[in-house]
């Protein structure tokens, strides 16, 4: 069992590295992405700073200026997500296939023992394809998802590929819906 557990951690490290490598190849190293990212980060930081300095009693002109900048930032953010989207599709298809393959390899195998009993709505994931009703048995998919959650984010951070906080805050998450623009 422990062998499986370690193997799954390796698999998720490998897929995270592969995924980020693929995205780097398709997106991060492109000039367009770098330019957009630099712009978005610069704008969002400036906006944040301006928001701090502009008091509530600020005159209309200043507020309008601020709004205009926000709009510009949103457009840039949308462009940025569009650039990313292309590789997102490519890599998600690859990983779906890989996941399917691993899923069939580990089908019906208990890969780890959970030290807690998962709440009912997680059991579908943690006990997937397992027989018996000992809910502390852990399926491949649950451990893989957990590993990916932690490892992928760390890999991104380690290589400085994660979007800056100011940028994600300004866009309300990296994949803010373009619909936000039309609502204003």
């Amino acid at each position: 069992m422990i062998g499986d557990t370690i193997l799954i951690i390796f698999i998720s490290v490998a897929t995270a590295l592969l995924g980020e490598g693929l995205t780097w190849l398709l997106v991060y190293r492109t000039e367009k992405y770098q330019r957009l990212k630099g712009e978005v980060e610069k704008q969002s930081k400036r906006l944040e700073r301006q928001k701090e300095t502009v008091s509530e009693a600020a005159d209309k002109v200043q507020k309008r200026k601020l709004e205009r900048q926000e709009e510009k930032l949103k457009i840039n953010n949308r462009d940025l997500s569009m650039v990313k989207m292309k590789s997102m599709f490519a890599s998600s298809f690859t990983f779906m296939a890989l996941l399917g393959m691993f899923n069939s390899i580990f089908e019906g195998r208990i890969v780890a023992k959970l030290p807690f009993e998962p709440i009912p709505w997680i059991r579908g994931l943690s006990h997937r394809n397992l027989s018996g009703d000992d809910f502390t048995d852990c399926s491949f998919i649950f451990l893989y998802v957990l590993c990916t959650m932690s490892i992928r984010q760390n890999v991104q951070k380690l290589f400085g590929l994660a979007p800056s906080r100011a940028a994600s805050k300004a866009s309300g998450g990296f994949f803010a819906t373009p619909g936000q623009l039309t609502q204003r």
Partner: protein, 146 residues
Amino acid sequence: MSSSSATSGMNSSTSPRSPTRLTATSSEHVSMAFIKRCLTPKATWTHKEEFLDAVYWLRQVVSIIIGIIVGILSVKGFLGIITFGIISSLIVFIYATNFQNVDPEEYGGIVEIIKEGFMTAFATFLVSWIVLYSAFHAPESSLPTI
């Protein structure tokens, strides 16, 4: 805004840090200088991101350690999760307010600092807890028969 200024901002994470606040760096790359600064009491942080990154990495390390300890001690159930929540938040709180002595208001309140990287750290904690628990305490009978 010209594109050349944007790209120079991108590269500034590798160049020596200037004291200006407005540098369009992305997330901090983990370098020796960064680690050193994280471990220096009351270090000077040129911008918000750096300190939050320090908190993020501290939290990751803490969650792995808590996960290993809790796994070896065979703690079960909700107690493990609560232990992680309380200890990691407390360590981050002490790190921010006492060790680095930053003004929480600059970062949008102490809650924002404590929330930094919580979900990733929680996943990291769960993985290390589950792995260690499975390695040391899983009953042999539960080994799959393939």
